[in-house]
């Protein structure tokens, strides 16, 4: 082959209509690409979920056992021993709903963070919009969440039968758990996108995540209603702390789920919180998607 200069080669490429590789596609094209990979996201997600628990004797049962054990510990320590559930009658339902749903957030954040970094092998051998990875990761956690939600509902129902607890009625309102979890899912995908990009570019951040998550756990009222402890803060802090604690996304989603299942005055259906839930989900998903897309051409380089 005769030697050619760089300009000649580029002219040749243009002449035959070749496209340049490794360039970030326009946003709209990218969205269509990701949408076309829907089946791949689903299959990769469900298979990952299945493979995760496959090497144990109890197998898929662990997907349910794990959050139950987790919730039992918190019920024992925070609900019974410390008794920190101010103003909440059904402590068990409160903690179980909190723990089961927060686990989904936690897994999505961790999974999203790892989704690019841990799968560089896959990124370096196949061509697909990288957004598939965080999406399928969250999908895999949703897959394990669904059976455990059934168990969660049963525990909440059963807690009403215990002595000292008001009976928990099974109403049509329970169906609202589905949109609540749906919104949480959309929100989690957004968070996973953001984490994926951050950790792919700066792997060190992976070490900070667990601390941020623990802070979020306490600040969202997962195991005790943290908002009710605000009055122990100095006066000038109370106002804005309450606003943040009450209206930050994770707290909103937990409220929506509790309002659906628990029959208590502290958790009445609140249209404002539903709107807020929708807004948070859309904002995080759209922002996360764009943030992730802007790094598309950089994933897999190092």
């Amino acid at each position: 082959m005769p030697a050619t200069s760089s300009a000649e080669r580029r002219a040749e490429a243009e002449k035959y209509g070749l496209t340049k590789m490794g360039v970030r596609p326009p946003l709209w094209t990218y969205i269509k690409d990701v949408a076309r990979r829907g089946p791949f996201i689903r299959v990769l997600g469900t298979s990952t979920a299945y493979a995760r628990n496959q090497n144990t004797y109890l197998g898929q049962l662990w997907a349910v056992l794990n959050p139950i054990l987790n919730a039992s510990v918190y019920v024992l320590i925070f609900g019974m021993l410390l008794n920190v559930s101010r103003g909440v009658d059904n402590t068990i339902a409160f903690i179980v709903i909190g723990v089961f749903l927060f686990r989904f957030v936690e897994q999505s954040v961790n999974g999203g963070a790892q989704s690019i970094a841990k799968r560089s092998n896959l990124i370096r051998s196949l061509h697909f919009p990288r957004a598939v990875l965080p999406l399928s990761n969250v999908m895999s956690h949703l897959t394990t969440l669904v059976p455990s939600l059934v168990v969660m509902c049963l525990i909440v129902l059963g807690s009403g039968l215990l002595p000292g607890y008001d009976p928990v009625p099974l109403t049509w309102e329970w169906l609202l758990l589905v949109p609540a979890v749906g919104l949480l899912w959309v929100f989690n995908m957004g968070i996973a996108f953001i984490m994926a990009r951050l950790v792919a570019i700066t792997p060190d951040l992976d070490n900070v995540i667990s601390f941020v998550l623990r802070l979020t756990m306490y600040a969202s009222g997962v195991i005790f209603p943290v908002v009710r402890y605000v009055n122990e803060l100095p006066q000038w802090m109370q106002g804005w702390t309450t606003t943040i604690l009450e209206y930050q996304p994770v707290a909103v989603y937990l409220y929506l789920a509790r309002a659906s299942l628990m029959n208590e005055d502290a958790f009445l259906q609140d249209p404002f919180k539903w709107w807020l839930g929708i807004i948070w989900a859309v904002v995080f998903f759209v922002a996360g998607f764009i943030i992730f897309w802007r790094g598309e051409e950089r994933y897999g380089r190092d």
Binding site: S6, K20, M21, R119, I123, R124, H127
Partner: protein
């Protein structure tokens, strides 16, 4: 070097195997079409955290540079004592300024010793590793014959065919249609319903090849895929590669076996230390490469590295590439 590249190369110390059943065969020449791939002054740089110090890597002939700016503050210098463990980032320049053009229907082999950047080049022209500088232009969608990374050993063969097919960009319907064909091509029989981790290595390799060639791509990249599998399977893979070429596709093949390259390729690229040493018709390049490997081997055992290498450059290669080879040797001199 990256993990996957060194993994692929680790088990082979030297890169010249002759396989009897390939000897004497030659790839059929197909009239060449329009250019379908243009690589223009491509550079690939990896970021490496911790690990080897730049000095020790450089001593082995790998092109490494520190990622830090040359002027360092007092704080940085104080921290410098623990640099290999805290904040040690270096860059490996795996591909250094490669340019070439490929046409429809061409079958191109890539040869070179371990760590010469073959696999990285292959991944870069597939668009999997973003270039540091330079560019790659393609017509259609290139596919690397390396679906392994998407497959899950815990899942059954059937599930993996689905995952792999979707990962390659097929629609669920296409996966359904090709399913039987893939099972038959892989020749795994009833094992299709067993987890893939129970497969013998030959079976797993056959299934991987069958999945990744289920979709016939415009540009097919094969990286050592033919190293495993029995003779019958090898023949079938060759037929598959020929099929891609017949449909005006282009095939790239990285193999440690020169006779495989000779049997299946019409053109060969010879990589050394991230640069293109030679690019030309298969006989010419493989002859020069054989000569080089022989000299390199003797140099290793005899310990007279410099002298042998220089001798090789005088003899082998066409005129143009000889010049390039010499230039590249000079670049190495300070490292040795």
């Amino acid at each position: 070097m990256t993990d996957d590249v060194s993994e692929a190369d680790a088990h082979l110390d030297f890169d010249m195997e002759d396989e009897a059943d390939d000897a004497g065969e030659h790839a059929e020449a197909i009239p060449l079409g329009d250019p379908c791939l243009v690589v223009d002054d491509l550079h690939i740089v990896f970021r490496v955290f911790g690990g080897k110090t730049a000095e020790s890597a450089r001593a082995q002939g790998i092109h490494v540079q520190d990622a830090e700016p040359p002027r360092r503050s007092l704080v940085k210098r104080l921290l410098g004592a623990g640099r290999q463990h805290v904040g040690a980032v270096s860059e490996v320049h795996a591909v250094r300024g490669v340019s070439f053009m490929a046409r429809h229907g061409e079958s191109i082999g890539i040869v070179g010793i371990n760590g010469s950047g073959k696999s990285t080049l292959l991944r870069a022209i597939t668009g999997l590793i973003p270039p540091h500088s330079g560019s790659v232009y393609v017509d259609g969608e290139p596919a690397l014959l390396g679906v392994n990374a998407a497959l899950m050993p815990q899942m059954t063969g059937a599930k993996n065919i689905e995952i792999g097919g979707l990962a390659l960009g097929m629609t669920p319907k296409q996966v359904d249609e090709r399913f039987d064909e893939v099972v038959e091509f892989a020749d795994i029989g009833d094992f299709v319903d067993m987890p893939m981790k129970t497969y013998s290595s030959g079976m797993a390799a056959r299934l991987r090849f069958a999945i990744s060639s289920a979709a016939i791509p415009d540009i097919l990249m094969v990286d050592e895929a033919l190293a495993t599998g029995d003779a019958a399977f090898k023949a079938r893979s060759k037929a598959r590669i020929a099929e891609v070429r017949q449909q005006a596709g282009t095939v790239f093949l990285v193999s440690h076996s020169i006779s495989t390259i000779e049997a299946m390729c019409t053109r060969v690229l010879w990589m050394h230390q991230g640069q293109l040493v030679m690019d030309g018709p298969v006989e010419e390049v493989t002859a020069a490469y054989r000569e080089f490997v022989r000299a390199h081997r003797q140099a290793r055992s005899g310990g007279q590295a410099g002298g042998r290498r220089r001798k090789r450059n005088g003899g082998g290669g066409s005129q143009g590439s000889g010049g390039r080879a010499r230039r590249q040797d000079k670049a190495r001199a300070p490292d040795a």
